[in-house]
């Protein structure tokens, strides 16, 4: 169940084909697995390792390094409240405190119904809307306590499904084009154009030297 479905596997191979070395697709594939399952299961990390030609331990090593990659189940909505300096100055800590109360969970935890996970985030680059937060990496702010309550109620009621897809969907826009020109062809082309550039630069230097000696 947690391996890629047929459709997702097709997307996985499309991603792999974008990189000169397959291992570069590790993080895009981790995002893809989260899009399918909400988080990274052991089985999917094993499959990703197989696809990119590395070991499951290396995939787990990468996955555990990055804040957006979850190796444990998270809620449908991951609410990340920013408490870094710009939000702190505008009440980010207080907003996080209120969020704990409203959701009835501590920071880092998930509600029993599996709807919400609450996180304390570092700067999300939405500082002109402080205090700000993200739900599944979609921006909201500035938020009052009441505004937060409304947001949570709307999410619970399914009113924001078009703005906020379930956790794991990084982008609803997919790349349409495969790599147009194989790397080997580009290399041949660059070799030719570098040679021509060398000739132009040499001619220019010779012309300048001639001008200088006149």
């Amino acid at each position: 169940m947690s391996r890629f479905t047929k459709e997702m596997e097709t997307r996985a191979y499309e991603l792999l084909a974008l990189y000169p070395e397959k291992r570069s697709a590790t993080i895009p594939l981790c995002h893809l697995a989260q899009e399918q399952n909400g988080y990274l299961t052991e089985e999917s990390m094993v499959q990703i390792a197989d696809l990119v030609g590395t070991t499951p331990a290396e995939v787990l090593g990468a996955a555990s390094f990055y804040d957006m990659l979850h190796t444990e189940p998270v809620g449908k909505y991951v609410v990340g409240v920013c408490t870094n300096i710009a939000c702190l100055l505008q009440g980010g800590e207080e907003l996080l405190g209120h969020a704990e109360e409203k959701l009835g969970i501590a920071t880092g935890a998930t509600t029993d119904d599996g709807m919400f996970t609450l996180e304390d985030m570092e700067c999300i680059a939405h500082c002109d809307h402080a205090p700000a937060l993200q739900v599944n990496y979609r921006f909201f702010g500035p938020l009052t306590n009441d505004g937060f309550d409304t947001l949570v109620d709307d999410l619970s009621a399914g009113k924001l499904e078009s703005e906020v897809p379930p956790h794991g969907t990084l982008s609803r826009v997919q790349r349409k084009h495969p790599i147009a020109v194989p790397l080997e062809e580009i290399v041949r082309h660059r070799r030719d154009s570098d040679a021509k550039e060398g000739e132009r630069l040499a001619a220019k230097a010779a012309a300048e030297a001639k001008e200088g000696s006149n």
């Binding site: 993080i27 990496y137 290399v187």
Partner: protein, 434 residues
Amino acid sequence: MPLPPLKIVSARANDPKNVTLEGYLANGGYQGLKRAVLEMNPEDVRDQVMQASLLGRGGAGFEAGRKWSMLKKSDIRYLVINGDESEPATFKDHMLVESDPHQLVEGALIAGYAIGAARVFIFLRGEFALGFERVQNAINEAYDYGAIGRDIFGSKFSIDLVLHPGAGAYICGEETSLLESLEGKRGFPRIKPPYFPAVIGLYGKPTIVNNVETVANLPWIVKNGASSFTDLGAGRSRGTRMFALSGQVNRPGTYELEMAKNTFRDIIFDPEFGGGLRPGRSLKAIIPGGVSAPWLGPDQLDVVLGQDEVAAVGSMLGSGSIIVMDDSTCMVKAAWRISKFFARESCGQCTPCREGGSWIEKVMNRIESGAGREEDLDLLMDLCDNIVPGVSWPPQQTTICVLGPSIPSSVAVSIKMFRDEYLTHIKEGGCPYD
């Protein structure tokens, strides 16, 4: 009075149609790329950028033309655009990718042409989900339009461009860490030397890493010429700069200003820009250039917003962010939060950063929460000295990357500027602002 802004990179930011190819073309888009690939040789583009004195907009401020000139000759070389904007209170690239995705694509392609890149990767911060969708859509449209792919615009130049997502790690803004991440690994900065990816970069090949705002300037420079660019600004700081203004100011936001022509006072207090502080409040401190930068006081409001000008007063223009703190702010708490950020984001490779950062955060937290001791101030300075000998600025490098040496500045400068406030916390056993 600040000068009326001449906008380069944010000129189309307020036009909602601009996110589509149709809107971008109506606004004069892709003329720079067309000129570059159809009328100019790659070395001509590089000359223009060199003459424009375009300083990198990521934070270090290294001249883009010079960086390009260091690229080692090789049949395969790569261009990577650094869109991993995570420096606290820096949100200019967030604005640029969401409001003008085609400008980023066009700029990246011009840079790719100039350096003869085999492939271009745009590494975008994972948390910028909307920005990712907009840039991916722009790339799809640009392929269909013939701006990316085989023989672009009928020229003999072919190139592919790939949008790559980050996954949430501040350290990946450091260029060698970004390359590790792009290779599918943990974002550990690489040991130097080699000092520059221009020699050994992505997959061991020569690689140029340029910031989003840096390449966003290229369409304008190619279209209007380097001399139009150097007509703006002063000294080494030419063209415009995106400033991200945040904190306790009436109108926080991103403002594009001519380089080296305005002061902190202009951007914070002018009604066109920051619009001043809240009623009855006075300015306590400014954090320019990112949280690695030493703070400035109200007596330094007239410092000019230029690279060398801010460096001359012992801080940095850095990422172009400006955090405003008024007299309702606890300086110990502000400095503690910054130390917590560094402690969380250290990749853990180097002892001074991993251990030092974490201990500084613990001691700062102890003072802020009321359990501090007077000797803690000396202890903090000693910890700082262990990360950066002499607590010098610019900091001496003791670690693989600059994250570690960035830790001491906010702690040391806040103790220097607001020692009394620290002592009050210690004597009263708590934060006087709570």
